[in-house]
Amino acid sequence: MSLKIKDLPIEDYWLSGNPSCPGCPASLGLRLLMKTLGPKTIVVIPACCSTIIQGAYPKTSANFPILNIAFAASAAAASGIVEALELKGRSNVNVVVWAGDGGTVDIGLQALSGAAERNENIVYVCYDNEAYMNTGIQRSGATPYGAWTTTTITGKKEHKKNLPLIMAAHGIPYVATASISYPIDFITKLKKASKIYGMKYIHLHSPCPTGWRFPSSKTIEIGRLAVLTGTWVLYEVENGIFKLNPPSNVLIDRNKRKPVRSYIKIQGRFSHLTEKNIDELQRYIDRQWETYLKLLSIGKIY
């Protein structure tokens, strides 16, 4: 039976009054993460907005243990925690990495790849706000084509790196994409991941009002448009079986996808795009979908 909002626990372990910007997807993501996994969870966080929004001494907004670690090291540190817990005979603790796109797609990738290859018992969640936000909006490997950042002032020339598929290529037991705008889907995937042994990777699309230049009230609306335009695709790869999740599963038909324009027109970071740029973004989205449709037809991809 599918989960209902009413069934979710009232208890929060991520606390109110933290220093995140109004409308912050990282704050919402941490709230949902901990609401789902509960207090028997150790979270490893590399340098990112989620380090800062824990608040300043003597208070912390996290009512759960966090190991803040150097940028490149989160998956390695989590591997160590898993080993230590196993030696102590404690098998009922979730070990989670919560890392930004910079700390995952770029700087943390080798440690993550190593942990995946060793099939460490970790839930790794990348909250993807598509740039290095904490240091002032620099482009990352996850920044999409055309987006303004402070290091791509005329728009990024390259397309977004497809990390979930790179993780699937490791042959790990579970890979999923999720969106902050679809909390039930995200929570269901987290629950499933926490019950699987080995490396689990969840990539959470996370619109950031500060970095993407949109009003703080639009975080959820923009994340939803990313999915409904097919720019961000919700899927799972469970034991090698590729599956699209709602509502992405009904977007196989290209005519059901909204044009990418409806997603980008409400974001300041895309305000300078020309018609040619928008066409290129649309072509890229359509190409990505061809890949997903091929994976769907193969069924078991590893």
Partner: protein, 86 residues
């Protein structure tokens, strides 16, 4: 030898102070329009939509006034009201 106390932070609301002061607009729930879908509760990044069973209220001490709850409410039961007007 005297040991230095480890500077451990303690879990607490308001790790950034009273963030309710950040608000320009304040969410006001019109209870007669609310259908108790709890969407505002699940989407609030701050956890400042308080859920009591299936009904909702706002924790104005820490609500930052982002407006997500009002934007996502399917029946438009939440108004964002300029602080001075209250």
């Amino acid at each position: 030898m005297e040991m230095l106390e480890t500077p451990l932070s303690k879990p607490s609301e308001g790790s950034a102070g009273i963030t309710g002061y950040w608000r320009t607009f304040k969410p006001v729930i019109n209870k007669s329009k609310c259908v108790k879908c709890l969407l505002c509760w699940i989407y609030c990044p701050e956890g400042t939509v308080i859920r009591i069973n299936d009904s909702v209220d706002i924790n104005y001490m820490y609500c930052k006034g982002c407006g997500i709850c009002a934007n996502e409410c399917p029946t438009k039961a939440i108004d964002m009201v300029l602080e001075e007007e209250i």
